[in-house]
C-alpha cells in the first residue's frame, strides 16, 4: 500500500480548518501526534490571521474506558488548558481516528474543565472502524486499514511528518499503544 505524504494531508486539513476559526475558537491537541499537528496548524493560522489563538493539550489516559484492563499509562502527559473552556468553540486535533473511544475520553475530560459552546474534531486520517456515534468533522484523508494494522505518525528533528504502518498479531496488539 502506498502511503500518502502526511504533509499534504495536513495541508488538506488546514484548508478545512481555517474557515471555521472564529473569535472564540481554541485548538486542543490530543497527545502525542495530535499535539504535533495542532502546533503546526496553530503556527500557520496565527501567522495568517495575525493574532494569537488560545490552545491546549489533553491526554485521554485518565478517562479511557479500558483502564480496568490495561491500567494507567504512566507516560501520560499532564493536561495543559491555560484558558477558560466555558463558552469556547473547541477544535480537537488528533492524528488517527479509529474507534472513537479516545475522542470520547478526551471530551469527558474537556467537560470537567468547563462547558464549551461547541466541540469539533479534526483528524489527519480516518481509518474507519468507529464503535461510537462520533465522527470527525475535518479529515485529511479517509484511509481504511485492516484491524491488525495501525498507522504510526512520526516527526523528525526538522519537524517533518512521516507516516508508516505497523503490523501486529491480535494477541500482541492487546496491550500495545495503538491509536484508537
Amino acid at each position: 500500500m502506498t502511503l500518502p505524504d502526511p504533509e499534504q494531508l495536513l495541508e488538506h486539513l488546514y484548508q478545512q480548518l481555517k474557515p471555521r476559526i472564529q473569535d472564540q475558537t481554541v485548538l486542543v491537541g490530543i497527545y502525542t501526534g495530535g499535539v504535533w499537528l495542532m502546533e503546526r496548524l496553530l503556527h500557520r493560522l496565527q501567522a495568517e490571521l495575525g493574532r494569537d489563538i488560545p490552545h491546549g493539550k489533553l491526554d485521554a489516559a485518565m478517562y479511557r474506558d479500558d483502564y480496568a484492563q490495561r491500567g494507567l499509562k504512566t507516560a501520560a502527559q499532564p493536561a495543559q488548558m491555560p484558558f477558560d473552556v466555558n463558552a469556547k468553540h473547541i477544535i480537537l486535533v488528533d492524528d488517527i481516528f479509529y474507534t472513537g473511544r479516545t475522542t470520547r475520553a478526551v471530551m469527558n475530560e474537556l467537560f470537567d474543565h468547563g462547558r464549551p459552546a461547541s466541540v469539533q474534531l479534526a483528524v489527519l486520517i480516518n481509518r474507519g472502524g468507529a464503535q461510537l456515534p462520533i465522527r470527525p468533522d475535518m479529515v485529511g484523508a479517509d484511509l481504511p486499514l485492516l484491524a491488525h494494522q495501525s498507522y504510526e505518525l512520526a516527526m523528525n528533528t526538522q519537524g517533518r511528518l512521516h507516516l508508516s504502518i505497523a503490523e501486529s498479531t491480535p494477541l500482541a496488539n492487546k496491550g500495545a499503544t495503538t491509536h484508537v
Partner: protein
Amino acid sequence: MYNPQLNAQGQLQHLLSIEGLPKRILNDILDTAENFVGVAEREVKKVPLLRGKTVCNIFFENSTRTRTTFEIAAKRLSADVLNLNVSTSSQSKGETILDTVNNLIAMHADMFVVRHQQSGAAHFIAQHVPPHISVINAGDGRHAHPTQGLLDVFTIRKYKPEMHNLRVAIVGDVLHSRVARSEIHALTTLGVPEIRVIAPRTLLPTDVEKLGVQVFHNMEQGLKDVDVVMMLRLQNERMSGALLPSSQEFFQTFGLTPERLALARPDAIVMHPGPMNRGVEIDSAVADGKQSVILPQVTYGIAVRMAVMAILGGGNAA
C-alpha cells in the same frame, strides 16, 4: 529477591514500604503523580479512574491529616470511601484485625489504606487479602510510611530536579520516625548521593549508618551547604523515659532557626511532614519563610497518593 509488594510480573500489588522497591517503580509513581497535580485546579476536581471501586481507610491509630489526604485522593479518583477509626470501635469490643478485614472483604472493598501502631501490620493484612485487593501502608509503628516518603521526594524533585547532585539533611527524631526511614530508602533508590541525619544520640537508631547516611550531632556542621532541610516532628507520644531534657533545650540545640538555615545553600528548601511543633523543631520565621515548601508538600501529597491508588487499582499495570 522476593518482595511481597510485587506480583509475579514485578508489578506493584501493594505499597507497604519503599525498601526493596526498584527505581523504575518509584519513578512510575512520581511520573504518574505529575499528571494528577493539575486535577485540583480544574472546575471538576475528579477523574474517573476508580469509579465504582471502594477504598477503605482502616486507621487503628488516629491521624486526621493522613486519613484526610488519602480520603481526598480516593475521592478525586471517583472512588467510594469508607473511613474506619478502628481504635474507637470494633477493636475495643474485642474483634481481631483479621475479623475487621474479613468483614470489609465481605463488603466487596477493593483497596485498604492501613495505619497501625505496630510495625508490620500492613504486611500482615496484605498477606491475608485476596489478589484483587491492594493494601497501602499509611504508617506502621516505627517501620514505614511509604506515601510520605514518596511525596517528600516528589516535592524535592519539583524544586531540585537534579536528584543525582543533592545534599539532603534529615533533622530531629529519627528514632521514632517511620517517615525518616521511608525517605532515606526513597532518596537512596533515586540516586541522591549525600543524605545526612542530624540528631542527638538518644534520638537515633543504633544501626542508622547502615542505611547509608552520614550522622551529625551538631546542627551547625550538619546543615552546611545542604540543598534540602527535612525537619521531623518530635514524637513525644512515642517516647518512654527521658530521651530529652526538655523541648526548650531541644530547640536550642536542634531547632531550625533563620540563623541555622543560613548555613545551608541560599536556595535550600525546608520541609516538614507535619504537624509542626513550632518553637520545638522549627522557628515560625522558617516555617512560614520563603524557603519553606511545607504547604506544597501537602498539595503534592494528594497527587502522589492518587498516583499510588491509580496504579494499584488499574490492573497493576505500572
